[in-house]
């Protein structure tokens, strides 16, 4: 039984005078892993920011049967629509563990929070070793792990990950791809922005291709990875 979790109709967004996104339509079913791909500058991050309500937008966005149009970012976050931002954006002067707990700040079930903390430590043992260290002292890749783990700590219904593999060792990227499959089994839906299309299409069910602010292709991961235009533009094949 499929159930629409996120529905975007005619979304437009930009920065001041500059229009970035034009008439975006998008639908994500609960439990899907959807890849959002496109060149740099296409508007992928802007779309995530608009969905999180970090920037204003027009058009209709419905998430779990609620309109997001009037909501502030923290209210969207409380609905457990969670964004892992590009460039990590950690609280540098707080410990790794406090950063992770900030991900759970809208949650009240302490036992569940503790269990999730153990889980993300299982996923990223390095973060456990460094849990008392300031987040700002982590290496680049470790900061990326911390940002993703903080997103998971929010117990998301929809997790939007911007540039997941950025700066991560190959073995860690593999681990994350497996993890996405696992959390999907638990009912988490994922919207993945990823430059490495081989990784993205390996794990995604479907994909959207964004070009200069418009959706130009929609299809299953297989269809898109076999599409000659996509292969030429993004894989250089």
């Amino acid at each position: 039984m499929s159930e629409t979790l996120l529905k975007v109709d005619g979304l437009k967004a930009g920065y001041g005078e500059m229009a970035v996104l034009d008439d975006i339509h998008l639908e994500i079913e609960r439990g899907e892993i959807v890849a959002l791909v496109g060149s740099n500058g296409a508007g992928k991050t802007t779309l995530l920011r608009a969905l999180s309500r970090l920037i204003p937008s027009t058009g209709r966005v419905t998430f779990a049967n609620r309109s997001l149009s009037e909501l502030a970012p923290h209210q969207v976050f409380s609905l457990r629509l969670v964004q892992v931002p590009e460039g990590r954006q950690l609280f540098d002067q707080m410990s790794v563990e406090d950063n992770l707990l900030m991900g759970a700040y809208r949650r009240t079930n302490r036992a569940a929070i503790t269990a999730d903390l153990e889980r993300v430590y299982g996923l990223f043992p390095t973060l456990k070793e460094r849990r008392r260290q300031l987040a700002g002292s982590l290496s680049g890749g470790e900061q990326q792990m911390c940002a993703i783990a903080r997103g998971l700590m929010a117990a998301p219904q929809l997790l939007m990950i911007d540039e997941m593999s950025l700066g991560l060792a190959p073995v860690v990227v593999d681990l994350l791809l497996v993890t996405l499959e696992e959390i999907r089994q638990e009912g988490v839906t994922v919207l993945l922005v990823e430059q490495d299309l081989f990784s993205a299409f390996h794990v995604a069910d479907r994909g959207y291709v964004l070009e200069t602010g418009k959706i130009v292709r929609v299809g299953t991961a297989r269809e898109l990875s076999e599409d000659p235009e996509v292969r030429r533009a993004y894989l250089g094949i």
């Binding site: 740099n40 290496s139 540039e163 950025l166 190959p170 860690v172 533009a233 894989l235």
Partner: protein, 245 residues
């Protein structure tokens, strides 16, 4: 072959943490050496010790046979060492051209540029080299990820370094853009530079590197030809993983 860079028993401690643990290696003139390893292995720290943004706890760094590990970063820049940063920090309010002109003015060996106009001309050359000249007049803050990477590279190149240290210049780029940067780096080598490159993009590391150096927990665990190193069991376990896609 003559060595341009010699690193001898280098160690860096941050309080209790040994970030670099007794590492030695040599970079030959005109060589491209790839530096890989798990996240937190000490790769960026090693580049910082060579470029002078950090000072070692013990050991020695020799550039063209002279010890440099106690020199401040700007002196090493003047000697001919330039680096890029993982998190790019352009001067946001300056134009793209002037950002690169700063590199040319500051310049390595001989201080190429004599005045601002000269520096801007040289900057224009490097912007064409990295294919960013169409954005020369824009302010740096307007650039997105990949163009910032190109700018970061142009700034370093404008210093006319003999030794170029690259810290993940391909992160966040797609496959087509990665191919472009690979050919830029090869072009830089053809111009006589020696290059130390940190990268997680295996295709890039394999096609660029003459040799690879692998760090793990601050220690050197492997060094040698890419094919040999990448089939090393310890490297596969610590870094590559068993299940490559």
């Amino acid at each position: 072959m003559a060595a341009i860079l010699k690193v001898l028993n280098l160690t860096k401690r941050f309080h209790g943490l040994v970030a670099i643990d007794n590492v030695s290696f040599t970079l030959e003139r005109n060589e491209i050496l790839g530096l890989i390893g798990p996240n937190g292995a000490g790769k960026t720290t090693l580049i910082s010790l060579v470029s002078g943004t950090l000072e070692p706890t013990a050991g020695m760094v020799k550039f063209e046979d002279a010890p440099i590990h106690q020199l401040p970063a700007y002196r090493r820049g003047l000697l001919g060492i330039a680096r890029t940063f993982q998190v790019m920090r352009p001067f946001p309010g300056l134009t793209v051209l002037d950002n690169v002109a700063v590199g040319a003015l500051f310049g390595a060996a001989g201080g190429d540029a004599r005045n601002l106009r000269d520096a801007q001309e040289r900057a224009g050359h490097w912007l064409r080299f990295v294919r960013l000249d169409h954005r020369a007049a824009q302010r740096a803050y307007a650039l997105g990820g990949p163009d910032r990477k190109r700018l970061e590279l142009a700034k370093a190149l404008a210093m006319r370094p003999k030794l170029l240290l690259l810290d993940e210049v391909m992160a966040g780029l797609n496959h087509v853009e990665i191919e472009e940067v690979i050919s830029l780096i090869k072009k830089a080598r053809e111009q006589g530079m020696s290059i130390l490159v940190i990268e997680h993009v295996m295709k890039a590391i394999q096609s660029l590197s003459d040799r690879l150096l692998v760090l793990h927990h601050g220690e050197k665990i492997a060094e040698g030809k890419p094919d040999t190193v990448l089939s090393n069991e310890q490297v596969i376990d610590a870094y590559l993983g068993r299940k490559r896609l």
